[in-house]
């Protein structure tokens, strides 16, 4: 079955996928139907409207030269209290996963061996729901072929963040699929740092029950890496979902986020900041569906590009009939540090309810000369002044992070990256 899948993934990953999918009943079912849907949809093509600004080639070609990478020697979240889980070459580094209060963490590979598991109600299900109106076949393929992932079941307030840190050496092609289930009244924060592979296809499915709350922070800083990510989330009533991604110096990244607000009075935020230099292509593709009353959604994206780097934003807010009192906010801005870099944006609103407030804006601009002179007149040399204005530009996106300590950690990490370049 999966063996006949398109030429997406290296033989090794295919082999690993085979091993797992030959196991438990639920997994077999989920993977088979995902595989069938991926087959039917076919691989993304350059002519697809949905891939207008980003060439899917690098994600679908079998024989891509994957260059092993060195991570910048700058650490992040060093001072934070957290539960650490390490991935090494797309596999869990240790067999034993940490045991923490109010939360159970399991591995996908172990759950796949069982005939029944709670994850069967979510795994591949949210991804399937997110296949409308556009086909996301690479996400379906991920469901069919993922070799590892974490299944996080938050049953109460999880006091410190769960951090997944990944290290990969060599030309690893990683297919990772995490599932997070947040029960009523529960809350959990998931942090992803490092890279699963030289090329990764990552899916995270998140189900947030009524009054639950989920926070996600992701750092993408692999120097030569290719990364395709999808988040599929379903958010209940009086609940919260917040995701923030910092992307610095990856070669090719596409982050898709597909959220559905299904319960009233909830709020979701998807934010991102990126620092792009030269051979850098970064794409944020967001689709937020309001299908409940009195919900708020925010999309805040800031991209700083130089030396020919390319930034893409495709963001859509869909307000279904009956989703009254929707408050939708969407802003995507780029700071172009030279004339070789470009920002391509396609903001969209589709509204079928009459009592809604939605605003969206997209801008592209150069450095503010007045502010630059102000800083220089105080003795700050030009490169440092540009760095400060870069931080100034990105600040709004970082401001979307709720935990001030995590926001501060990201800010100082950014400062270090800027100083190092």
């Amino acid at each position: 079955m999966v063996a006949s899948s398109p030429k997406l993934i290296s033989d090794r990953a295919l082999h690993d996928a085979e091993l797992i999918s030959n196991s438990g009943a639920w997994a077999k079912n989920a993977r088979q139907s995902a595989s069938a849907r991926a087959q039917e949809q076919g691989l993304p093509q350059r002519r697809d409207e949905y891939w207008k600004y980003t060439r899917p080639d690098l994600f679908v070609q079998k024989n891509v030269a994957l260059i092993p990478q060195a991570r910048p020697e700058i650490s992040i979240f060093a001072d934070q209290m957290k539960t650490e889980i390490e991935f090494k070459n797309a596999k869990l580094a240790a067999d034993d996963l940490p045991e923490i209060d109010n939360c159970k963490i399991e591995s996908l590979s172990n759950a796949c061996a069982l005939d029944l598991h709670w994850v069967q109600d979510i795994y591949g299900k949210l991804e399937l729901a997110g296949q409308n109106p556009v086909k996301r076949s690479l996400a379906a393929l991920n469901t069919a072929m993922a070799t590892e992932g974490l299944l996080v079941h938050a049953k109460g307030q999880v006091s410190s963040p769960i951090r997944i840190h990944s290290v990969s050496i060599g030309s690893i092609d990683a297919v990772i699929h995490h599932v997070v289930k947040v029960e009523a009244g529960a809350s959990v924060t998931l942090i992803e740092t490092g890279q699963y592979g030289a090329r990764s296809n990552v899916v995270i499915e998140v189900e947030v029950a009524d009054t639950g709350s989920f926070h996600h922070i992701r750092i993408q800083d692999g120097q030569e890496s290719h990364m395709l990510t999808h988040i599929f989330a379903s958010i209940g009533a009086d609940a919260k979902f917040k995701s923030f991604t910092l992307t610095a110096d990856c070669k090719m990244t596409r982050n898709e986020c597909i959220l559905e607000l299904v319960g009233d009075n909830s709020s979701v935020t998807v934010a991102g900041a990126c620092l792009g230099d030269s051979n850098f292509h970064h794409d944020d593709t967001v689709f937020i569906t309001h299908d409940a009353v009195n919900c708020e959604s925010r999309q805040v994206f800031k991209k700083v590009l130089r030396n020919g780097a390319v930034g893409v934003f495709q963001g859509k807010i869909l307000v279904k009939a009956g989703a009254q009192k929707t408050d939708g906010y969407q802003i995507s801005q780029s700071l172009l540090l030279d004339e070789d870099s470009q920002f391509l944006a396609k903001p969209e609103l589709e509204i079928y309810a009459d009592d809604v407030a939605c605003s969206h804006g997209s801008t592209s601009g150069a450095i503010d000369e007045e502010a630059l002179f102000y800083l220089r007149s105080r003795g700050v040399p030009e490169p440092k002044a540009v760095d400060l204005l870069t931080l100034s530009f990105i600040a709004q996106a970082i401001g979307e992070i709720e935990d001030p300590d995590l926001a501060q950690a990201i800010l100082s990490y950014l400062t270090d990256i800027l100083e190092a370049r």
Binding site: Y374, S377, R378, G379
Partner: protein, 251 residues
């Protein structure tokens, strides 16, 4: 301290002459004031001296302690001891006032080859100076000038001046937008920096500021030139009679 000779400046983009031969000699330790009608070129002079882009110097020179500053980058001029308190201070969202101040202080020290100020020492000094200017801790934490009132922005300029301890201070309408008490605070801040060596060039429209910061020399600028220089009484004359007589006199 600062020698300006026959400074002629036009806009880079269009053929518009703004300064038409400015001569000024500012001796160390003195306070000079410049007054003059709107649009006469006072701010332009302060910008050109501090290195803002968009202007072209077609003739003349400016030397700070014998060094040709027109050849220097803005940050080098700052490190050489030049400071401009802006007529319109710029807002920088997302960058904390404190971070900004510390970056400025240490950048200048680095450019001069001096050791950087430690975080602890900096904090101590900035708190003391902020207190003198009635700038509270909250204003130090907030992003640079964002949401500051007009008067707060001006006091923040003086705080920067106090932290950077420049040799040559240019104040461009620092009194505008200040209430009476704030004006006294700012004047106290300036006077506290007068040490017999530090030089000030105070651009203002009103005598009021000069009641608090006593000038040694007052210049009148019109249409890009210094048309008259004199003692403090010149400022009083302007206050009472406006510029009409002066302009006629020199026409």
């Amino acid at each position: 301290m600062l020698e300006i000779k026959n400074l002629c400046v036009q806009l880079e983009e269009e053929d518009k002459k703004i300064l038409r031969g400015v001569n000024l000699s500012l001796e160390a330790g003195k306070v000079h004031a410049i007054m003059g009608p709107n649009g006469s070129g006072k701010s332009t002079l302060s910008y050109v001296l501090s290195g803002k882009g968009g202007y072209e110097v077609t003739e003349g020179s400016a030397h700070l302690e014998g060094n040709d500053i027109l050849e220097m980058e803005p940050e080098e001029r700052a490190a050489a001891g030049l400071f401009l308190a802006f007529q319109y201070p710029v807002e920088i969202p997302g960058v904390g006032n404190m971070t900004f101040l510390r970056t400025a202080v240490n950048s200048q020290r680095k450019l001069r080859g001096e050791p950087e100020m430690s975080a602890g020492e900096f904090l101590k000094v900035v708190r003391a100076k902020a207190k003198d200017l009635k700038i509270d801790a909250d204003m130090l934490k907030r992003p640079v000038n964002v949401g500051f009132s007009g008067g707060e922005k001006k006091r923040n300029e003086i705080l920067q001046m106090a932290m950077l301890e420049p040799k040559m201070c240019i104040l461009d309408e620092t009194d505008s937008g200040l209430d009476v008490d704030a004006m006294k605070l700012v004047a106290q801040g300036v006077n506290a920096l007068r040490d017999g060596k530090r030089t000030f060039l105070v651009i203002t429209h009103y005598q009021r500021l000069l009641d608090h910061i006593k000038p040694d020399v007052v210049h009148i600028m019109a249409a890009g030139r210094i048309i008259k220089s004199g003692g403090p009484e010149l400022a009083l004359e302007v206050e009472n009679n406006g510029y009409a007589d002066l302009l006629e006199e020199t026409a």
